[in-house]
Symmetry: C2
């Protein structure tokens, strides 16, 4: 998602970007290098964007939003860095991961450091809802990671299991971002709830799309090897569908549970998944979430930001990187 | 430090223990097993103990202390689990580490999960000082870990570097425990500060003693291999002293920077460190911290808990496990 897509909050995003750079400034040269590298590697800043947009519904106040927006991105970054420790993916966003450059030990503590920095920012807020929601979110994010590990290479999974995982992996933090932006600006309770639901639907659609792209994108655009989820034994929605509906489901099963797949086998699996309609099915589910998100938007007050969120919703449904 | 040592807060510690068990209860069987294992593995519960004792100085109220005491132990546990990820120590407290049983990936996320649980407990407190101090403490703890990694096998270290590291590794959280116990019970500001300083001195003495025991304890009592710090390239106070003062300092230097030491070489290094007085020197520094801690205690109000803290101070100085 390119930044010029959010021209109307460009100024706000620049402020967040500057604060993010400051948050990872540190006297130890090794850590500064690692953290700065991570910040520079970019990413979509999706969570700060949702936080700021959420704040636009009621008494918008950047001073109240900046620490939260930065904290949300730091929590996200920490989870990426800790993911690098665990799944030995060697590239992320086309740049070497922290792990690949500095090893597991540094990754673990750089992740903890980023998380700690986010806690310092969150501790500034008087409203107890902000630390509460974020604390509960991080517990659930860890639960999701652990379940993802314990169910990896397990083909006996239903859609329900997949939704449980991606809610924890992605949707919860995005939905918290939308909601807490409003909370930080003192919006009334019903607005929190609507933004929470909007964020949930968008987050689910976003992760389903991510999982589709892992099977379909060009490697250059994705910035990481195609079929990485299959390689790591992460069973995504198109795979669950194909394991039930593909005429070649026995072969797909065989490849899926194999911990040492060749690239040829991954390509074979992707073909089986695509040919039985697994990709189309998952894209359809993502679209349903987009519809739900837009329906939720319709209930929100008519302020200019609503139009931006509508565009975001459309974009999440069609993005190809 | 055995629990019967704290007979006067036995009841309180049982409550903390129960809540700790509850905090790590989880629907995923893999995580429950990992976390329960970690809780059962025990440990001294030093941070809850200091938190409760800190609370005894002013309007003692267990309801206010329990979530904090549990959170402090969870933060400590999370740091142990993440330590297991990074330094590949295979045993801790005589039991297999989480890592040894479940692998790096689970350790990373179990650590994050424990930390998340602590945040949920901390979010209950109205006083902004509690999340603030703990957030700043976790940032510094991560900094300390990173510096420990980046300076490992580096023999060009002064006492100052060592004190910087052990303050972040141990003293900060112990000092936060003492202080925040008082904060949670609404004690006045000067009491916070005195308990903070007391905790700092005790924490420093505790870690110096730990580092001495790593070189001198019987393996069975320690529950991990002797000379583990040397093996991992962590340069502790007795080593810094010996690298300056031992007649065999060139040989010691040679062994210290070798990343693949044999057990014989570790024993040779320990002999060199001991014979030049490195152990005695470090023990002397620990004693000085104990004296400072007791001096700080003397300034505190005369309540029964003072006697307990005095005993703790004495014990930290002479403990051999």
């Amino acid at each position: 998602m390119s930044i010029d897509f959010f021209d109307d909050i460009k100024h706000e995003l620049n402020i967040v970007e500057e604060e993010l750079q400051k948050a990872v400034h540190f006297s130890d040269p090794l850590l500064t290098e690692a953290a700065t590298h991570l910040v520079s590697a970019g990413g979509k800043r999706l969570r700060p964007i949702f936080c700021i947009l959420g704040g636009k519904f009621h008494n918008f106040d950047m001073d109240k939003l900046v620490p939260l927006a930065v904290a949300l991105e730091l929590i996200h970054m920490a989870s990426l860095v800790h993911d690098d420790v665990v799944d030995s993916s060697m590239t992320r966003r086309g740049m070497p991961t922290i792990k690949a450059r500095w090893g597991n030990r540094i990754s673990t503590h750089v992740g903890d450091y980023l998380l700690g920095k986010s806690l310092v920012l969150i501790a500034r807020y008087q409203d107890p809802l902000i630390p509460k929601v974020l604390a509960e979110t991080s517990v659930k994010m860890s639960e999701g990671e652990i379940v993802q590990i314990s169910t990896s290479f397990n083909t006996n999974q239903a859609n329900r299991d997949y939704f449980y995982r991606i809610n924890r992996k992605t949707a919860l933090l995005i939905s918290a971002s939308c909601k807490l932006g409003a909370v930080a600006c003192g919006a009334p309770e019903p607005l929190h709830q609507a933004l929470h639901r909007f964020g949930h639907h968008i987050g689910m659609a976003f992760q389903i799309t991510d999982d589709i792209l892992d099977l379909t994108a060009e490697q250059v655009k994705l910035g990481k090897p195609i079929g990485g989820d299959l390689q790591q034994g992460i069973i995504t929605l198109p795979v669950i569908y194909a394991l039930k509906n593909s005429p070649g489901r026995e072969r797909l099963q065989e490849i899926t549970i194999n911990r040492n797949k060749t690239n040829e086998e991954i390509n074979e699996a992707i073909t089986l998944i695509r040919e039985c309609g697994g990709i189309d099915y998952a894209a359809g589910v993502a679209r349903k979430y987009i519809v739900k998100a837009k329906r939720e938007l319709a209930t929100l007050p008519d302020v200019p930001v609503k139009k931006t969120l509508q565009t975001v919703a459309d974009f999440v449904g069609i993005r190809n990187f």
